[in-house]
Symmetry: C2
Subunit: 191 residues, 2 copies
């Protein structure tokens, strides 16, 4: 009873990618079946076929974002060995080479906002945050990890608001350094 293979196996993922593009460019409020279909270059019926309602489409799109985003800025942090490494990795993740693009930040913000009304997306966000905290706690106390996480998000938000201003690297560095040092002093001195 194996009948009917997909004619276009890529279609589903293409639709999801298109959804993220629309969300990044015009926000979730613009992410309609029709708009996404146009973006993906597929007919309307195709989107409703793969995703029976719009909520599941959008949630699925956010999931793919999470899966793609996580490893990118996680691994430099995982590899950090000294406090200096940690600070450098954090700076890079905030405004350096491993930092998210403005588009990514925008999608992330839309996700936050959507999460305020969608328990599913709220769960996704908490997963993402928890994953980040797990990594940070390898090098920092729980308190410091939480503070660092909040600060990074604050700066990403700043970048989204002031598109053209580049964050001053020294400033970012000093702030993370202060939080990491705090974590070090409250840390039980190892033998």
């Amino acid at each position: 009873m194996r009948k009917g293979k997909p004619n276009d196996p890529e279609r589903r993922t293409r639709i999801l990618r298109a959804a993220l593009e629309v969300i990044a460019m015009e926000g979730v409020h613009a992410a309609s079946y029709r708009r996404i279909a146009a973006q993906a270059g597929v007919p309307l019926g195709s989107t409703t076929y793969y995703f029976s309602d719009l909520e599941t489409l959008i949630v699925s799109a956010f999931k793919t974002l999470r899966d793609g985003l996580e490893p990118r800025y996680a691994s430099p942090l995982r590899d950090a060995r000294t406090d200096d490494d940690v600070v450098d990795a954090l700076v890079a993740a905030t405004c350096g080479s491993t930092a998210p693009t403005l588009d990514d930040i925008r999608i992330y913000e839309e996700m936050h906002r959507y999460g305020a009304r969608s328990p599913q997306v709220a769960g996704l966000l908490r997963d993402l945050q928890e994953a980040s905290l797990v990594i940070l706690r390898r090098s920092l106390s729980d308190s410091a990890a939480r503070a660092v996480d909040a600060l990074m998000w604050g700066w990403w938000s700043y970048r989204a608001l002031n598109e053209h201003d580049r964050l001053d690297t020294g400033m970012v560095h000093d702030a993370y350094r202060a939080l990491v040092t705090m974590a070090a002093t409250e840390r039980v001195p190892q033998k």
Copy 2:
């Protein structure tokens, strides 16, 4: 030529308040003329009369939020005399007595998102941020002020995502303390 006094002088502000309520509860995407009118208990025509298009209604609503929000958490900071006072005021503004409600944070987040596509609202947000920085710079270096601002926003955002978890006051205190201390050490020692 002063003819026709408003029959209901409160109406305009009532509509603005209703708009903020809708935005807080259901998001800007739900803030339609009709929905706002229903919330305010006035007919549709009444909203279109006072605000010729929806954009100006929403921007006006955000403006009233700004005007109401600013003094609340600004004055404790202005009165802070020592670094300890500053830290205490920041903690209070983050999760204490002067902190915004969850509804306020939600509206603020919606504002951020809306600002991504509305230059007017983006301007409002920058004003708000600049006002905050001006106050913070009375006690802190520019770098520290920016870091503190970002961190506070990060924690507000955290509160919005994890509604029931209360932020640990000690943790928040320590983080601000670390940033303020950093500012103190980089500060030119006064005679």
